[in-house]
Amino acid sequence: MQPLHDVILLLVVLTNFWVLGTTRLSATIRATAVQGALLAALPIALYPGFSPHILGLAAGTFAVKAVLLPYLLSRAIREAAVRREIEPLIGFAASMLLGAVAVALAFSVAPRLPLPDLPTRVLVPVSLSTVVIGLLVLTTRSKALTQVVGYLILENGIYVFGLSQVERVPFLVEIGVLLDIFVGVFIMGIVVFHINRDFDSLDSTRLTELRD
């Protein structure tokens, strides 16, 4: 039996692949909600003992990443006619494959980063591969909404890395970071809404008027 935190970290990687493999926009939003819930459970699994700091972090993460942001994003596309990612720049199978390469690379690079007193050895590779997969989604998908999801995944990867430092970084800082990400995605959601309304499409590839 693997320890609980390793199981959660594994599930985080699986949600990454869920996003990489799905064509439905609503499914990508659901995947980020599930990933958010997993990330909320992660600090409790990593640092058992129910300190107020850890519980506060878990509650804040759950509220922002599992509830508020997915809700905002699904509101932003409620009226969108397009519900599917039709033509990604890189095919779905290929991007799954690239994701797998990212995970393999992350696991081979991570042991070279000598992090002191980590609760688990999987944390760093999961974090790095999540960051890379987030970047992958952000750069290869054409729908503005999927790009926001990619940004969220990227931030989630960084959050996982941050958990290795949770006892050294004060609660206030974590709340500040969460708040910033919340406002960031909130504004992006508004922009996605406008793109949808003004262009009758969620395609960010149509944004091509500005160039030299």
Binding site: P114, S164, Q165, V173, D180, I187, M188, I195, S204, L210
Partner: protein, 474 residues
């Protein structure tokens, strides 16, 4: 107390402005807060070393320099905003004023924070507070600009957060992520993680500075945002981002890693100058021209850091000159856009005739921003070039001089055409209201003064800032 006030006062004023008082009260709130902020910063100059919140907030020469740039530029922009908003009556000035004040609070936080995670929080907040203002016109072009701005800056700043966490995990001694302790115990930082952290911070804060090749958002954003917002971005936001990078540089130098930093800084600096020169030649839009000029100056700043020694002093001086001169040129161009309703250079001729004050400011801005004597930037560029030659970077100095000359020709051609050229049809004289002239005029006076005379206290602070970066005063 004073430190808290500098951050919280704009927050409170911003909230008040959002509650929807009459436009007159709102404007008074904006300018009043800006003036109080500048007064508060002036007080800080008399009390160096002030700290609060257990060392999380503190005043040091680097931060004080950036805070002063932000505060002075913001005051000029705030007075300008009065004239600007009067002409835009149909659109609610409410969000506009609130976002501007939010930016002032966030930028003050960046300048005063000595906890590197707090620096990050402030930096992200500066990005977000200006996003609604980029979208001010609510059309397709500004939509595209704000999208690029948000996505690219968010990813960049996300990587900076990863770099910050790397730095925390490299640390074995001292309070986590407190700047003083990072520098004091720099020798005990784990070198591999420290280097990784520097690369992430360089990419992250470099994106926010708009260093090539991470600058893709910059011309679009500056081109579409209202000119005063673009001026605030080019002068204040980039200075804050530079501060983030400078913090990383001072930790790296203290840890004896200057040799590791130099190649990436040199590469990114040269690429920035080359890219801006390439795009300034043949540019057709005034605001995009200034955006590429901003890429150029960010490149010069990074090169000055790479050169080190007196170059670091030159970087600090250049930071001030760039911040204020960029504000001046963007506000002058802002007037042109108001009078001609476009920033396409081909459609604008004879500004000197139609709007003499603006025309003069535009020409002064051109010479100030291209580093011509007698303006401050001439002195700072000369300092950096001199440091390069004495530091054994003669080749770099040659490259820089050639690129500076190309950029000067490209900018002068467009701006002089716009100022002197004969208009196709004579327009009626423009109404240059006092609030549209006062701000840029004061900025012009300051950059002129900095070229002729550097006050002793300023010189001392810049010298100390240079030492914190591992350099020296001349």
């Amino acid at each position: 107390m004073l430190l808290f006030l500098l951050i919280l006062l704009p927050v409170a004023a911003g909230l008040l402005a959002y509650l929807g008082p009459a436009p007159r009260t709102r404007n008074a709130l904006l300018v009043g807060t800006a003036a109080l902020h500048t007064a508060g910063v002036a007080l800080l100059w008399r009390r160096p070393g002030l700290a609060a919140a257990g060392g999380w907030l503190a005043v040091d020469p680097l931060g004080l320099t950036v805070l002063t740039i932000v505060s002075v530029l913001f005051l000029a922009v705030a007075t300008y905003a009065l004239g600007f908003l009067r002409l835009e009556r149909q659109r609610g000035g409410r969000v506009f004023v609130t976002c501007l004040l939010g930016f002032l609070a966030a930028a003050s936080l960046v300048a005063l924070a000595h906890h590197l995670a707090l620096v990050w929080i402030g930096m992200e907040a500066t990005t977000l507070s200006l996003a609604p203002l980029v979208f001010h016109r609510h059309d397709r072009r500004s939509l595209e600009a704000v999208w690029k701005y948000l996505v690219l800056s968010s990813v960049g700043i996300g990587l900076a957060l990863l770099g910050t966490f790397f730095l925390a995990s490299a640390q074995v001694q001292g309070r986590p992520l407190i700047l003083e302790d990072l520098v004091r115990y720099a020798g005990s930082l784990q070198p591999g993680l420290l280097r990784g952290s520097f690369i992430f911070l360089l990419v992250g804060y470099g994106t926010k500075m708009g260093l090539a090749p991470l600058h893709a958002w910059k011309p679009d954003t500056y081109g579409e945002a209202p000119s005063l917002v673009a001026g605030l971005m080019a002068g204040a936001l980039t200075s804050c981002a530079f501060l983030g990078l400078a913090r990383a540089v001072s930790i790296m130098t203290a840890a004896g890693q200057s040799e590791f930093m130099r190649p990436p800084l040199l590469a990114i600096g040269i690429v920035s100058m080359v890219v801006s020169a390439a795009f300034i030649i043949g540019q057709t839009d005034l605001k995009r021209l200034l955006a590429y000029s901003s890429v150029e100056h960010m490149g010069i700043l990074v090169l000055a850091l790479a050169i080190g020694g007196v170059g670091s002093y030159g970087a600090m001086l250049h930071l001030i000159n760039n911040g204020l001169a960029k504000g001046l040129t963007f506000l002058a161009v802002g007037n042109v856009v108001i009078f001609y309703r476009t920033s396409e250079a081909a459609a604008i001729r004879g500004v000197l005739q139609r709007a003499p004050w603006t025309g003069v400011l535009l020409i002064v801005g051109l010479f100030a921003i291209t580093g011509s004597p007698p303006f401050g930037m001439f002195v700072s560029e000369l300092t950096i070039l001199g440091a390069a030659i004495r530091g054994g970077f003669v080749w770099l100095a040659v490259i820089m001089i050639v690129l500076l000359a190309i950029i000067f020709v490209g900018m002068a051609r467009m701006i002089l055409d716009v100022a002197y050229g004969k208009p196709a049809e004579p327009g009626e004289p423009a109404a240059e209201s006092r609030s549209l002239i006062a701000g840029p005029l004061v900025l012009a006076a300051i950059v002129l003064m900095l070229g002729l005379y550097l006050p002793a206290p300023l010189r001392a602070v810049l010298g100390e800032a240079a030492r914190a970066l591992g350099g020296s005063a001349p």
